[in-house]
Amino acid sequence: MKYRNKTIITGIAILSLVLSACGSTKDKYKNADDPIVLGSFVDTEGGILGNMILLVLEDKGYLLEDKVQFGTPDVQRNALLQGELDMGVDYTGNGQFYAKGLSEEIWRNSEEGYKAIKEYDEKENGLIWLAPAKANNTEALAVKKDFAELNGLKTMEDLARYINEGKEVKLITSQLFAEKEAGLVGMEKAYGFKLREDQMILLPHGNTAETLKALANGTDKVNVALAYATDGSLVDLSLVILEDPKSIPPVYEPSAVVRKEVLDKYPEIKGIVENAFSYLTKENLQEMNKRVIVDGVSPKVVADEFLRANKIIDKATQY
């Protein structure tokens, strides 16, 4: 009996020592019992933007649950709506899919589009869209550099001329883009050309890593492809984007999306994240994308380098 009592007391003593050691982490974090669950899109840019937010918030003393590169856009959206994620990264232009019933014109304007989705999501879903980065990752059409030089293609007007001359063209794009007024349909109307079904390859998704790979390799005779303005592989694959002076597709600026309850609890997050995002431009985002997708550097490392280079964080990071 006595022996058993001693064991129990020793056990409790050890357990309390262990627990107190764990407890000391409470002082380290502003939200020790309530980590902020952060997600982002599974693609390259999602990795960079997600890690940027992760690093900058951790630097300011917040505890986060790292779900960066969580999944495809619809999976992240669902998770935010369900409350499975506290925070995510989305694009203002995607508001066209979330806030139904608004005119397509709104999304082609940076301020109006942001205002529209901000109001809609705050009212309907309790989701707050923070100020977006001024880096319009919009949709565009890309061609090979040699092809452009050979055929004198610089803008969409040139492409329209090329197509109307009956020359060989094969476009690879997402079905969604091909059917939208703020997409291919609008471009065809604005620049005066029309592509037949056999001149298009339609994919069920908008994964430009695939479309650009097909373009670069000339798979299936593809010579025009859907691209995003900040795609990192453009330069290395010798691809150029055709200028779109009439700006047909929506404006897609990256913006952090936070659940209202979380932002109310930790309002300083807004300032921290918006500050970090304010340093982003189309050019440096594209450069970061390139480092990840072409050079194969980890997105966390690239995000960290960016934050340090711009003196947004300076403490040592553990990764």
């Binding site: 495809t72 998770a79 890593a209 670069a216 290395d236 997708i293 050079d295």
Partner: protein, 382 residues
């Protein structure tokens, strides 16, 4: 034709030798995404590749001889060829890449074909080893050890799949752990549910359909649809504090785990039913005659006799689940599927391979282990 004693060996070695000469062995890429320069084995490695050619010729030569003593020789030549080829590519790859972060070497057709041929040759000669099996197992261990050694000393650092691994090392091991938890965990949970269910269907004939038909219907539901169906109930369950604390929600590991468990119920349940049904009624009668009560008969006679078949059901469920757990990556559940989907998103075949190769390796390993366990059990039972 009668002079060729080992036709499979001849076929495999010929295919291997031809691919060595005619097809590209590797593709040297400047960076992760652009197409690279394809090179055949001799273009890339040079004259050292002759060692491998000689090995192929020896194997062709050996196919004119009968089995028996030669199997061990064939096995070791095959094993050495496999290791040497990979090492040669690694050494030359390091020279070519020489420290560049983005430049890398990817395997091409001839590599995959010769590895497949060597695997077939190894499998065939291993089966023929009979009493010399321990030597064969030693050979497999040596292959694994030399590859591990090469990996650790940086001999494979120019391989594109290795470069992807380096960048995502931490995520890889976390995914591996999550994947194992999902696969083994759900098979364990399924076993705990399905064995009683199977036994129940055996005991009461009336319940057989009531149990087996729903399970069969479950099996036919496509995995993604099942995840979608589970989304709402699990999301609601996740609102209760106990379930929230263990991470149950509409997305994440929970729907994957539940769905995978549900899929294991049919193979394990059905095999349990068949296993018990296959026990010879005479043995049970004899046991009753000896004075054993119901519980003793169940645990000492019926269950041990039924177990080999139940184990087969578990093996089938496990093989099915290790692969099926890939889909967890689609609902944010982690596991090796995240690499597969990341690879699809970034159009990087190496990331996809990084997810798929471990799955295949673990599946083959578990399948082999459980088959061996089954053979041992059958021998004991008889």
């Amino acid at each position: 034709m009668g002079r060729i004693k080992d036709k499979p060996l001849l076929l495999f070695s010929l295919v291997g030798l031809l691919s060595n000469f005619l097809l590209p062995l590797v593709e040297v890429k400047q960076n992760r995404i652009s197409n690279g320069i394809r090179m055949s084995a001799f273009e890339f490695i040079g004259l050292s590749e002759l060692i491998i050619t000689i090995f192929w010729i020896i194997l062709i030569f050996l196919s004119f001889y009968h089995h028996g003593k030669k199997s061990l020789f064939v096995f070791y030549i095959g094993a050495i060829s496999m290791v040497f080829q990979i090492l040669l590519i690694g050494i030359r790859g390091n020279e070519v890449v020489s420290g560049s972060l983005s430049m890398r070497v990817t395997f091409a057709a001839s590599f995959y074909i010769s590895m497949l041929m060597l695997y077939l040759i190894l499998a065939e000669s291993f089966d023929a080893l009979k009493s010399r099996k321990p030597m064969g197992i030693l050979g497999i261990a040596l292959i694994a050890l030399s590859l591990f050694f090469g990996f650790r000393t940086g001999l494979f650092s120019s391989f594109s799949i290795f470069k992807e691994f380096e960048v995502k090392k931490d995520q890889f091991f976390i995914s591996l752990w999550t994947h194992s938890f999902l696969s083994f965990g759900s098979v364990l949970a399924g076993t705990l549910i399905a064995i009683p269910l199977g036994y129940l269907s055996y005991m009461r004939k009336k319940l057989e359909n009531a149990v087996m038909v729903p399970l069969s219907i479950l099996e036919t539901i496509p995995s993604l649809s099942l995840f979608a169906i589970l989304l709402v109930p699990l999301a609601n369950l996740g609102k209760l504090s106990f379930f929230k604390s263990i991470g149950v929600s509409g997305i994440g590991w929970a729907p994957a785990f539940v769905a995978l468990t549900l899929y294991t119920l049919l193979p394990i349940g059905r095999n349990t039913l068949v296993g018990f049904s296959s026990v010879d009624k005479n043995i049970i009668e004899a046991a009753k005659g000896m004075g054993m009560n119901k519980k003793e008969i169940l645990f000492k006679i019926e269950f041990p006799l039924a177990f080999p078949l139940i184990l087969t059901g578990i093996r089938i469920a496990l093989v099915q689940t290790i692969g099926g757990a890939v889909l967890a990556g689609l609902v944010g559940g982690g596991g090796l599927g995240s690499f597969v989907f990341l690879g699809l998103a970034e159009a990087s075949p190496d990331l996809i391979l990084l997810g798929v190769i471990p799955i295949v390796a673990i599946t083959l390993l578990m399948d082999g282990l459980l088959k061996a366990a089954y053979k041992m059990l059958r021998r004991n039972v008889e």
